[in-house]
Subunit: 326 residues, 4 copies
């Protein structure tokens, strides 16, 4: 088993533009540590991110990993075996001019920013909870621990290098709660070895990541990868034991929605042999449509269908079931 | 119990601009029939909507009902007791230049429209299923029967009259799968008697109503209403046994998202006494964000939070629980 | 010549839903007075609109006028002969949560609103200037007087009634600086007599009406109308001595852009006999694309082409030239 | 004078990620040749771009040029002295799923693409015209020759590498008709030497570049650069002899509009000493707001104000006037 620590030199702030830190093999579990999105610099409620972090060097991703045998035109399947918070406390915050309910660098206004505030969440792995504690009152409530990775991606095509905070067709900062243990992420491979990197663990996150920051925490990650040779993937897809999901990353949000739904329609048509309009109809009556993030440089929407409505089909030749079986 | 049939004179195509067809009393169940969105004109796969329907006279709503005691500034609570399909077959279709995966009258392009096609769904109330049958292959699959109302609203403010196909702060064509039996919809009252109207029953619908048309069916509806005096409601809200939900209607889709999330944050703050930023944080880690429709003149997003995270609170003085108890 | 004062009873706050105040004849000049968008209630810098005005009763429009002979399916041509400010001082302001550089009721955030502030502009008709005077410094500068009407429209189709602040296919609050003296506006007729109403005079306005308010002033208006029988108009169009213009009203702004450009392409194709793709190409290399408003419930973009690139053509049978000749 | 030919090795397809091809000095005119956006591969109406070009290797930019003395935190001023078409024929086309009046990879639909078609424009430098010739009829018309550069940019910040087709804060594929001879473009410097690159010459272009392609032509370019030390620039700005302009690149289009207008408000406030709200007001009554492109991965809007309304001010210490004087 490969084991990659989050030591300096093992992480960075981009997809593309960096040399691999390790080579990994399909089918062999990989263990790695990811830093939280603040790089560990926010430790107390007084550590305001805009003071202790150095913009835009946020959202470090561990890697990249060179996947043996992955070639441009293939699909990389990344199966998340387990996610374990590597710290007892998760952190959230507001940032000035970041988030969905504030003006931002894109949706600019002349208004003053919201207050910058930090929240700490006690994580209780045994109870399976994270504890919300208000900052300006005694209100507190336990929420389910529901670990996920915010950011998983490969090197982009055509020599592009993107900041790790950007989600796009190469994956990146997808920020969907669906990307948790037991899920398999499918990404198109653009360069030899794919150059996979991962980070931005969340102890939990609501749809949309509304304030811009989930319950952020360093994470002990176990993944296993596989390569589906000669099968390209356009926009990122997810598979769970029950659902087949397409992700769209774009602005405005309806374009993210359109990408995710159109890709799901085409995927369903391909798997079932339905013509496009028949697949469009089936998806229209069955899909979920949930916001991933509505705060990053591109927004993310997911489109998902229950696999029981697609009897007798197996996406990507059944790689999810094989990786799930371990 | 009031009983309103879908006879001519009992339905129309607008919110506002029409005289009440009946007066109803809070707390007394109301039974009514709603027509399907085609007004019953599409009966076979050869009845293309653009030929058999007269645009824009689609989406008839039964009513309006004058609610005794409802005054401007109050909130009308509409609790859906039961929804029973009033026909054995549900209908869906594509329309030329309508839907999320086609250019439209708003998102205009120079491309030719998609083919117009009709699908029929056999409804089996005993089995609790609707049957998808492809038009160009033998593929068929049973989907769960999950009845809901697409369109519920009141007369708009300031003398406006809106087509029933438009969702906005007065309700209207919200098209969210969350508006089913057991749910309570909260709408601000703009005129004496509120002038409630309902229609657009769906045997089921995916998030986003992607192709523009759900599994449409005439519906036998039982609702019970109540008036929350002196409590205004801005954007429509929903309550179920487990969730508190705000709906946002707007374009682009991120504005629908923002409205729904901002309203939920303010509602949570009001119910819990949290300050706005603390409520923003709690909502960020717990909300769902699902598309209602992404096809109507305004799009709809829902923001929902589990009520168990708001212990000791009751929205609108607990009216949902009272109506639910019957 | 008809003469309609802005007396009570002669104006209102909607398109549709009101009885005509006068009947007017094609070809006969009509003189009328329009109130400013505040209904005259803002007179000093201390008259903050949110205090002295009664929301949403803003933007009064004079009319509606019943145009003899106008029938559904016709086009109404409204030629603006002259616009003369009817007050010596124009007024502008910020509103809380209204404008392009603030969060709004649609683009909601949790931020505090901008300060509400009023500016007064001295109008010098002889010099042809309006004087900007800063409120927090001595900076002052003369700007060209460039009168226009923000709001011109007819009754909507299908029984709808829209607030006068809304621009859409029926015209309404278009807020484009192009709608000044010498311009002809083309609107589709939806009801017998068209029911034309006008208001919202601006002494001048920048593209986009960025802060939400132009240099607002009561206006003495002379218009002359004509009816183009049997020729429908979808989205509003404008014609000047040099340009042919299509207007698109929608959100997001790219949809307003798409509507305006698509309509211009179709108009050019129809006038020149070019096929759609050839017209698309010609428009692509020649069109202007300017923001009308980016603050109203729907945004407006204009698409315009110089008529010299369309030799030998005349829109709507040359009605602009005839009305211009007087 | 530097002279850089468009030889292999002197151009590429990204901003960032490439070594400088030459070092240039402030104040010394630079002559260079840029290829057309097709890299010269489209020569006849039968050379369909999707066949003769290799996606995504379009839009080559000449450079990058290392500007002596430019350091991160400075502003680079790029003054366009002259633009001369380097070919007698300009080329335009439609692309499948590219352009504003078609569905695209972002605004996805299930519709078939528009026809791909190529148009050739004879350029007559003496007459100052380019000749539009329809492909499906005899219609032809002369349009003014109005050369401009579609793409001018520097290396992005934080190690990012962006395809040359993307406009953003580093410049790039801005595609505004305002970027012609006599204009000065201001770009923030992110890396030592700035790494300036230029390309995508247009013989002319309409606002919005609606079909996705202007009248494309190789160009002989003369520019002169200067460095404004210690003065950062956020979003790209332009200056002409009469106007001060801010450019916003984003989706949706209203965000591009907001960025451009907010930046202009801040620039005007800084130059005049007006407070933000007074500057907001002045800009609201005077700005133009024109679409640059509405087809690239990010859209571009320009916000411009006549410099005569800002008496006694000089942007960036008057560098435009100095470069203009030559």
């Amino acid at each position: 088993m490969s084991e990659i620590l989050a030591d300096p030199g093992n992480y960075g702030y981009t997809f593309g533009g960096r040399e691999p830190v390790a080579e990994v093999k399909p089918g062999i579990p990989i263990r790695l540590r990811t830093l939280d999105c603040f790089g560990g610099r926010v430790r107390t409620v007084d550590d305001l991110p805009s003071r202790v972090c150095e913009f835009p060097y946020l959202n470090p991703v561990t890697g990249p990993l060179f996947v043996s045998g992955a070639r441009p035109g293939d699909t990389l399947a990344v199966h998340i075996v387990s996610l374990t918070p590597a710290a007892p406390v998760g952190i959230s915050s507001t940032f000035p001019h970041f988030g969905a309910l504030t003006s931002t660098g894109h949706t600019r206004t002349l208004q003053a920013p919201l207050e910058e505030r930090v929240w700490l969440y006690d994580i209780d792995p045994a109870a399976g909870t994270v504890r919300y504690q208000a900052r300006r009152s005694d209100f507190a409530v336990d929420l389910p621990l529901a670990p996920m990775l915010g950011t998983v991606g490969v090197a982009p095509a055509a020599g592009e290098v993107r900041q790790s905070i950007v989600p796009d067709v190469h994956g990146g900062n997808l920020d969907t709660p669906l990307l948790g243990p037991g899920a398999t992420l499918y990404l198109g491979v653009n360069v030899p070895g794919a150059l996979l990197a991962l980070g931005d663990g969340h102890a939990r996150q609501g749809d949309g990541e509304v304030c811009g920051v989930a319950v952020e925490v360093a994470m002990d990650v176990t993944v296993v990868v596989d390569v589906v040779p000669g099968v390209p993937t356009g926009t990122p897809r997810l598979e769970t034991d029950t659902q087949l999901i397409s992700l769209g990353a774009a602005r405005p949000l309806e374009d993210a929605f359109r990408i995710s739904q159109e890709d799901l329609v085409r995927h369903v048509a391909e798997l079932t042999g339905l013509d496009l309009l028949d697949a469009y109809q089936l998806v229209s009556q069955t899909t979920h449509a949930r916001a991933g993030n509505v705060v990053d440089p591109q927004y993310v929407m997911s489109a998902g269908i229950d696999k029981r409505y697609l009897p007798g089909t197996a996406a990507y030749g059944g790689v999810h079931d094989r990786l799930r079986a371990g």
